[in-house]
Symmetry: C2
Subunit: 328 residues, 2 copies
């Protein structure tokens, strides 16, 4: 059975999602909702979407929609997700899942009360190379994990109009770019026992470059950096007592990796070709969960989404990133 | 004029230095000194060294020696260097230069009072690829430096007899392996304004894995990790607003690098072949300094050596690595 999708908000990531959804056999893009009818019509025209709604409310109430993809700027995730949950829809919410753990908890509670499917749109988690890495970690090939590194740096010109610099849109490197290394650390090592974070602010007060060291009960460390001021190759690596796993940049997109034993022997090369952007795998996961009658994805459980938001909250507390105190 | 070398102590690094010195045209290995005549004879036999001394004192007093290479375990550097300085020799002291900044300051003060040449044997600093990186940094090709990363991880079996695990020999990852990323950060960004460090201890109490974030007055950050529990590819990278410089592992040995602009264009590939281990370049620098009548190397000034020791001291303070409190 095909999953019928409605897209809520029509920004850049919504375009990428719509394009990638076209590569998925068991999905149909049936509806789009925007705050104005004009933008809904334009987006609908571009992707040949039959239902074009001039409000988010009309979209979530569309009876032909099974699953809603929430792709507003971060501060809009909470209200849009609650609206879709109240309408009984399955919801895929862009990352960061919410502005803080308190918002995220409300969303999770609402979905559980309603018995509806809720998934964080951390698309990396559902990519083929990550699926293989999950198996390698489970097999213990790396030995005891000693530390991991992950980076996400992109360069953006200083522009107060651009989302990433705008405090009112939840701007800054951490929530937009840093979510990838933070989520990767949670994927590999779970919830940290201790967090240490430092940051440099951009000209609008949001964080420009943030570095984090997460420490775990096992003794492992995760060393993470994110920046909106420099273009990184965006690699990641996991170092164990037996072997390391080196993920080529950009680690969080469809990519290649190697497993190298501590004596330098290459134990595995993962270089499977990949078509498209990779966003369709999260949509496919929503389809699988709906088919199976699940209310969360076993590949990214809601408790993990909440833990990731908790890590982001603690990093923000340590680096003093308080959106309510910043100019809009 | 050829520099006549005497090697003080006959461990693993002394062997590597002796082998590499043979590739240097303007250097002669004329003497070796050990705590016993037997080990001096064995080392002298292996490298065909004419003068073989059964004490460090006899070595530093050898009138045919111009420069002494101090390669004892770290806790011996201070006394051996002072002994060689008192004998009027130029001294090349293995890294870490001393056990702490106070020891290092005494050594520097003594050399300045005596007017003798003193150089920290951070051989990386004198390698050809680092010389080219120095030029690239000076030219401003990378733009403003936003952050850098550097790692040094090697795996060693838990062995209380091995130097790296022995508190009495200044063991642990930081002083032995971490000195490379720390020195690299000083090379690129200077003395940090703030240091944040966390660590996990090995079974003997020395540090097994230590991660550091250094923050600079410019706003830049250096994110550094060292471990004796996992084998890294040991890469390093410098990220600027205009371009990044990616150094292939092992970054601190003769290796290759690329400069990549923020749009992904490769601006420069450094892949000059290199012969030998690379230790001879520090010896060549000592020869150049002696020829020029210098008392320190402009490529690694003594104030920088002292600053590096200060960084190591602060990291040790934060991670609670107190050798005097650990069992021998």
């Amino acid at each position: 059975m095909s999953t019928r999708w409605g897209i809520l908000a029509t920004g850049g990531i919504a375009h990428a999602f719509a394009r990638d959804l076209a590569l998925l056999p068991d999905a149909e893009l049936v509806a789009v909702g925007s705050r104005t009818q004009a933008t809904a019509e334009a987006f609908g025209e571009e992707f040949a979407i039959p239902h074009r709604h001039g409000s988010y409310q009309a979209l979530v109430e569309d009876p032909d929609v099974d699953a809603v993809y929430v792709s507003t700027p971060h501060p809009g995730h909470h209200d849009a997700a609650l609206m879709a949950i109240a309408a009984g829809k399955a919801v895929l919410v862009e990352k960061p899942f919410a502005m803080d753990a308190a918002e995220a908890r409300e969303m999770v509670d609402a979905a559980r009360a309603a018995g509806t499917l809720l998934v964080e749109a951390m698309w990396t988690r559902f990519l083929p190379h990550i699926a293989r890495i999950r198996e390698i970690l489970a097999a213990g090939t790396l030995g005891e994990i000693v530390y991991l590194t992950a980076e996400h740096g992109q360069w953006f010109a200083n522009d107060p109009q651009f989302r990433l610099f705008a405090p009112s849109l939840g701007g800054g490197a951490l929530l937009d770019l840093g979510i990838y290394p933070v989520s990767f650390a949670h994927f590999v090592l779970g919830t940290p026992a201790k967090i240490t974070a430092v940051s440099r602010a951009a000209f609008t007060g949001v964080d420009a470059t943030t570095s984090m060291i997460l420490q775990y009960g096992s003794g492992a460390q995760a060393i993470l950096t994110t920046s909106l001021a420099a273009a990184s190759a965006n690699p990641a690596a996991i170092y164990g007592t037996e072997a390391r796993l080196e993920i080529d940049g950009w680690f969080y997109t469809p990519t290649t990796f190697r497993v190298v034993s501590r004596d330098g022997t290459v134990l595995e090369r993962y270089d499977v070709p990949h078509e498209g952007h990779g966003l369709r795998h999260e949509a496919a996961e929503v389809g699988r969960c709906l088919q199976a009658g699940l209310t969360e994805s076993p590949l990214l459980p809601l408790e993990e989404t909440l833990a990731i938001m908790g890590t982001l909250d603690e990093v923000r507390r340590q680096i003093g990133l308080d959106y309510s105190a910043l100019a809009p």
